[in-house]
Symmetry: C2
Subunit: 343 residues, 2 copies
DNA sequence: CTGTTAGCGCTTTCAC
DNA sequence: GTGAAAGCGCTAACAG
């Protein structure tokens, strides 16, 4: 039980009877033909024995890079982002990179400076589903000479904007809408997330566009915060508004759909017999509800890994091309043919 | 649009016509009575103008501390851990610390080395709800001379173990059990998470202990993985087993309770009329379901902030006392008096 | 009040 | 094949 200070590479060198440079070479794995096999294994043995771990701060300082990426997400309450992280971390690990998660405290507002809170030194940033100006708080990100940036699930159309990796959310909404139309629905209400981000704007536009060409289709829309209670209230308004009652509630997310289901039942109606409800995201929540939600599955891991790959390319001086990943409609029990109107 | 290299404190010093030390003093906020007000503001102005940001790697190297803590959690799919993070990050920020999240990839298995993946240099570790040996993979953590460690929601009884901050999970289970007993239930099934951690062991023991003294009370138990489908299957077994059918399903978590509700309905029974179902954790899922779940609310933020405070005390050379935070039963629609047995 | 200096632990030429 | 030395950007003694 000695003082147990953390050994430095110098300590290892001394203990092994070699120079610090040799230790660095051996432990860095770049000693082929520069250090003898015997010396190398001796160094590894002593390093092991002393419990040596390189000082990351020193290494970063010397190399000028940290081999760490920051993943900025709007919230952690959603397993989509957990899967995003897995995908990104997997690819990162293959390249000797780490990923640090930074949940933007404001959810959709401007991110606070991660140098203040997730104060890790980082080489680049991956930001997902952020509001337009949400990265303003993060110094220099994406700007010329600033930190390299890749945006996920964000507006790809900015001319000089950062590289993007996107989901085909518009297509997802279109698939849901088609599915409901095919079932025979004509009176739709869109339960829209009241969040000013690209991903939700696209959804609203896609519903409207898809329904625009359908004779007899009517669409109302209610905006609400991204929680069950707000969704329930909004769905209540949609169902009890003036005009004929919608037979399909198309929701921007599974959480909203959960609220919508409660609203339907609150009015003494049934899902899906009286009103069909569709979700989006296909979280585990979609299968936890009864009936299970028809929803749109998002390839979260793939988005994460593609995002990380794009960032690595960026760090390599390349120019990653924007990409869009397909999404898939999952039909479950919450949607059905509309009931015949009773007299 | 010049080359735009990141300015160093030396660049700021040169531009402001002062020495590097003065810049450090001013920007470090410790110049009272050592640098003139005029010089100070001049330095700040140039730093601002050049867009200077201190190099954290250099600072860490110099100080020997990173002012960063690692928060190890078993999974991110759960908003409990999001709230834990908020609590910890809040206290950390007040002390100029950052928090880096590390989702242990294995969930409940041994954590992989965060120096490899979340490779941030850190001063200490807060680990929540981990299996006994789950931290073995993280070099040196908690060991003598190693990284300071605080455990949350973990066995506090180890004699030489790390400081702990715990939830009164046993008491929570006791409250649920009492609630169900008061409603008149006597035939219980415990839907237990098949995860070998302290928190779940305590739950199992608490149900058994509370029911042990009640005449006529019977308890069966089913173990299952922490997901809806597994819970549904397990609840099915509990409801359809030999012997009289339980009237109350006491679940180790809201996710399990969701599966249990589906199982009840799958048998043509109703919640809560035929079978009462209780959850635990009080996630937003509890209010998303219909009927809403009776559950136990956990003060996640407080656990996070208390954990961070304990770690700070540890870093200060102190010895934080183990603490236990109270939990609260939230009665909602999923529990009711048992139906009279029909002939 | 301000400047000079040393050194944190590491990697990387360059010389032997 | 191996060692010596320089320097990444920062802070904290110490001198002036």
């Amino acid at each position: 039980m000695t003082g147990a200070v953390r050994p430095t590479s110098r300590d290892v060198a001394r203990a092994a009877g070699v120079s610090q440079a040799t230790v660095s070479l051996v432990l860095g794995g770049k000693w082929r033909g520069r250090v003898s096999e015997r010396t190398a294994s001796a160094v590894r043995a002593t390093a092991d024995e002393l419990g040596y771990r390189p000082n990351l701060a020193a290494r970063s300082l010397r190399l000028g890079r940290t081999r760490t990426a920051l993943l900025v997400v709007p919230a952690l309450t959603n397993e989509y982002f957990a899967r995003l992280y897995s995908g990104a971390a997997g690819v990162a690990a293959e390249h000797g990179f780490g990923v640090v998660l930074y949940p933007s405290p404001e959810g959709v507002g401007p991110a606070r400076d991660p140098f203040g809170s997730a104060r890790a030194a980082i080489d680049g940033v991956i930001a997902s589903s952020m509001a337009a100006d949400a990265l303003a708080g993060i110094g220099d990100v994406g700007r010329d000479g600033g930190l390299p940036l890749v945006m996920l699930d964000s507006d790809p159309s900015a001319p000089q904007g950062p590289p993007t990796v996107n989901l085909a959310v518009g297509d997802g909404i279109r698939q849901v809408t088609r599915h409901l139309l095919d079932l025979g629905h004509r009176r739709f209400a869109h339960l829209a997330a009241d969040v000013d981000t690209w991903t939700f704007r696209v959804r609203a536009e896609a519903v409207a566009a898809e329904l625009a060409g359908v004779p007899g289709a009517v669409l109302t829309s209610e905006r609400c915060a991204l929680d069950v209670a707000a969704a329930r209230a909004a769905a209540g308004r949609a169902l009890d508004g003036p005009g004929p009652r919608p037979t399909a509630l198309l929701c921007d997310g599974d959480v909203l759909a959960a609220g919508a289901c409660k609203a339907v039942r609150g009015l003494g109606l049934r899902v899906p017999d009286d009103v069909s409800v569709s979700g989006f995201d296909d979280l585990s929540l979609a299968s936890a509800l009864d009936p299970e939600l028809t929803s749109v599955r998002l390839p979260a891991e793939e988005v994460g890994s593609a995002g990380m790959r794009a960032l690595l390319e960026l760090l390599d001086g390349g120019t990653p091309r924007p990409s869009e990943l397909p999404v898939e409609l999952v039909v479950r029990g919450s949607t059905a043919r509309p009931a015949r109107r009773r007299p």
